[in-house]
């Protein structure tokens, strides 16, 4: 077996080196988000052009580098010109001709399309020196993402993959758990529980059968870190999972992911198959006598199944309802046997820790939260995408230096973190270091890494309503507190955004929240009040405006706003809004060509505001709707 491995490793290395040395090498990111941006068309266009021109070039499909705002992303290496590889942004199929004619056939590197040059850091993670974010980032989990072909295990192996597993299998399980504990690794699925302690608990039970489950459910809406890791570098998680299985003494493992992630399921199946072919899964791995295999399970669309006891129920083919803990799954889990449930990133980090040692890992991050945090940045932020920063980096750095801040010079209003039951923190929190304990102190939770930026175009009351509505739909219905409490909160918020709120509602919200936090059975229910409590804490004035003035300051809540066309700004020859309004609510005065919105017909879809040419910008929103009367009176007078 050992000889076989040497052979596999040598072959993989040669293959990788040949690829790196090829005169033309084009990498195209085709993960889910790249596809949505048109990456498959770009890929097709490159293939066709190279063939037509008879160019001997290599094309590799890679995953996501995290620069999702620039997708489709293309990296072109042409070593002979003496430049490092160049990374290009927004390369839709229309740009392909320019790149092929300019750079591949000619010598013009088309720098106007480039984001920057691609270098490698000391530990071979790709970075772009021209971009500030790469100076702040530290890529442990994302080291290979967007750089290797996730569908080719050889790429992973050539970059040192599965060497950690090999090393781990030469150690005793106790030594591995000791190393993970020394590294201070805390679970990346949300709660930050020490991984080593969980494993130790499972290891020390006497049962014959034990299981390990990778939690790849990622039910948090707005989060996509685990999807990216599994679509871009599935083996890093799989390697960690095998190490974990050996450490706790499990022979069988499950990866639970969601059917909303078809590409993840595909790539996992392929990766598992390749690992089996190389003897990295199955009987007698690396000749160590240890046997282990992994099965994938697709969830059926239930957020609560991300909770570990619910997940276990779901794998057993039952309704995904949580049960009280303790006993913890590590003692009593799948089929009643001890089971370790770990998040994707946690397992990917295990592979890194076994490679570089506990000390190396501890040198990154903070003493109580060592290592890195992966964040999925979305919402009102310039450089939407995925980042990995050392724990302890401030929120300000993540949002402004890495994410480029809020677009179009608008103001940041809030940051939503920790999933639907996380919380929204205001600008006051910008200097907060990102780590498990600081977030908790600020009334929010770290969660698994979804981070959504809100600006003045977002209403905080409506945001809280959205989360409570989501949680009311998704809670399992098992405990009365969860079932009725969440629903009640959601209904009160519904009334407030409609303009029917009463002053005593704010106290009521706080009271029910308190009861729920104490009385619900599982963490979904217990954390459900977070969106309310945090928005009340940071944005109480918005609640008051809705209740006392029937006004939505952010101009979002439908019942509290109206659309209005400013006659002085409207270009009268233009009919854009009239032609696109879905309900024919806009009329044009025959003589003056002035446009007016018939309020009783308007459904507040926002199309007129979107379509009115920016040089006129004549459509505005007002709140409360009565303000229109004032505006009209002003013209009249």
């Amino acid at each position: 077996m050992t000889n076989d491995w040497e052979e596999i490793y040598q072959r993989a290395k040669e293959k990788w080196e040949a690829l790196e040395a090829s005169p033309i090498h084009i990498r195209i990111g085709t993960p889910t988000c790249g596809r949505a941006a048109g990456a498959l068309d770009t890929l097709k266009e490159f293939r066709e052009k190279l063939e037509k021109e008879g160019i001997q070039g290599q094309i590799t499909e890679v995953g996501c580098m995290g620069l999702c705002f620039a997708e489709p992303l293309v990296i072109i290496s042409k070593p002979e010109i003496g430049l490092p590889p160049i990374c290009y942004r927004n390369v839709t199929y229309q740009e392909v001709k320019r790149l092929v004619d300019g750079f591949i056939l000619g010598d013009d590197p088309c720098l106007e399309l480039a984001l920057g040059t691609l270098d490698l850091t000391e530990d071979a993670a790709p970075y772009i020196p021209e971009m500030l974010r790469f100076e702040i980032e530290e890529r442990l989990v994302l080291r290979n993402c967007g750089y290797i072909d996730p569908q080719d295990i050889d790429h992973y192996i050539a970059r040192g993959g599965y060497l950690s597993l090999r090393k781990a299998l030469g150690m005793s399980p106790e030594q591995i758990i000791d190393e993970v504990s020394k590294a201070g690794l805390r679970g990346r699925g949300g709660a930050g529980f020490p991984t080593g302690r969980k494993w130790d608990l499972c290891r020390s039970t006497k049962n014959e059968m034990k299981y390990i489950i990778c939690n790849a459910d990622e039910g948090d809406p707005g989060a996509f870190m685990d999807r990216v890791v599994l679509e871009s570098d599935p083996h890093s998680m799989i390697e960690g999972m095998i190490i974990a299985a050996y450490a706790v003494g499990a022979y069988e493992g499950f990866i639970y992911t969601r059917m909303e992630y078809p590409l993840v399921l595909d790539r996992l199946e392929q990766a598992l198959m390749q690992a089996r072919e190389y003897g990295l899964l199955g009987e007698d791995i690396f000749g160590s006598g240890f046997s282990f295999d992994i099965e994938t399970v697709a969830g059926a669309g239930a957020f609560v199944c991300g909770e570990e006891t619910a997940m276990i129920a779901s794998i057993e083919g039952r309704r995904g309802m949580p049960r009280p803990r303790p006993p913890y799954p590590a003692e009593y889990g799948l089929n009643g046997e001890p089971t370790v449930v770990d998040n994707v990133k946690t397992l990917a980090l295990v592979a890194r820790i076994m490679g570089t040692g506990a000390k190396g890992f501890r040198s990154i991050g903070t003493p109580s939260s060592p290592g890195t945090a992966v964040f999925a940045l979305a919402g009102r932020i310039e450089q939407i995408g995925l980042v990995e920063v050392p724990m302890g980096t401030t929120l300000r750095q993540v949002i402004f230096d890495v994410g480029g801040g809020v677009p179009e010079g608008r103001e940041l209003k809030a940051i939503q973190i920790g999933g639907p039951a996380g919380g929204c923190v205001g600008k006051e929190a910008l200097d907060l270091p990102v780590d498990f304990d600081s977030f908790k102190a600020a009334g929010a939770i770290m969660g698994s890494g979804g981070m959504i930026v809100l600006d003045e175009n977002n209403c905080m009351v409506e945001t809280a309503r959205f989360f409570l509505d989501f949680l009311a739909r998704e809670e399992c219905g098992k405990c009365i507190m969860g079932r009725l409490g969440i629903k009640q909160l959601s209904l009160i918020l519904e009334e407030i955004v409609r303009g029917n709120g009463r002053e005593e509602d704010l106290n009521l919200l706080e009271e029910i929240s308190k009861d729920l936090a104490e009385g619900a059975l599982c963490n979904l229910g217990r954390t459900a009040p977070n969106p309310i409590l945090t928005t009340l804490r940071y944005f109480r004035d918005e609640y008051e405006a809705h209740i006392k003035e029937k006004r939505c300051p952010a101009l979002v809540c439908k019942d509290l706003i109206a659309y209005y066309i400013l006659p002085e700004r409207c270009e009268r020859g233009c009919e854009h809004c009239v032609l696109t309004c879905p309900t024919e609510a806009i009329v044009s005065d025959e003589k003056t060509r002035t446009k007016r919105i018939q309020q009783d017909k308007c459904v507040k879809c926002g199309t007129c505001l979107e379509i009115c040419p920016p040089e006129y910008n004549a459509v505005i929103k007002v709140s409360p709707p009565d303000r229109i009367k004032e505006l009209e009176a002003k013209i009249g007078g």
Binding site: C33, P221, A300, G317
Partner: protein
């Protein structure tokens, strides 16, 4: 039960042994093949596993994925996750409801279009997104709803023309 359905059951049951823990996977596979879970399907699955129909139904109704009526020819799924909501997903959903004149969860009387919502498809960087027949439409706006829709109608009529030829 249609013969065709019977064939599907036989095939699906042949690769999932009659173990209780395969219930969800059985339902998923049957739904994938038939487009929805018919009453017969639930009965057959229960029979295969030797559990009650009520239990099968109880599990199926718990999960959002399972449908008890067929989908429309074009299946439209609007993402209502946090990122999509933040970027105006509600207006997009309203737009589809208006264009189709059905509420979310419904299907048009001619079975052409069905409308669903989803919690998040992990494509939050392109929010708000809509999934139509499994193709992702990025950065949607109410205005684009009408556009996308015109595209679908167009394609619909073209393909039926092609059929006639």
């Amino acid at each position: 039960m249609l013969d065709e359905e019977g064939e599907v059951f036989k095939e699906v049951f042949s690769y999932f042994p009659a173990r209780r823990r395969y219930l969800i996977r059985l339902l998923q596979t049957v739904q994938q093949k038939l487009g929805y879970l018919s009453e017969d399907a639930m009965k057959e699955v229960a029979l295969h596993l030797g559990i009650s129909e009520a239990e099968t139904f109880g599990v199926a109704t718990f999960y959002n994925q399972f449908r008890f009526v067929p989908l429309g020819k074009h299946h439209i799924v609007v993402c209502m996750g946090t990122a999509c909501h933040t970027m105006g997903g509600q207006l997009v959903l309203d737009g589809f409801e208006r264009e189709l004149d059905v509420k979310v969860g419904g299907i048009t009387p001619d079975h052409e279009y069905s409308l669903e919502r989803v919690g998040c498809i992990g494509c939050c960087t392109k929010a708000p997104v809509v999934l139509i027949n499994n193709i992702i439409h990025p950065k949607m706006t109410p205005y684009k709803v009408a556009e996308v829709f015109a595209g679908l109608r167009d394609k619909g009529s073209k393909s039926s023309e092609e059929h006639q030829e």
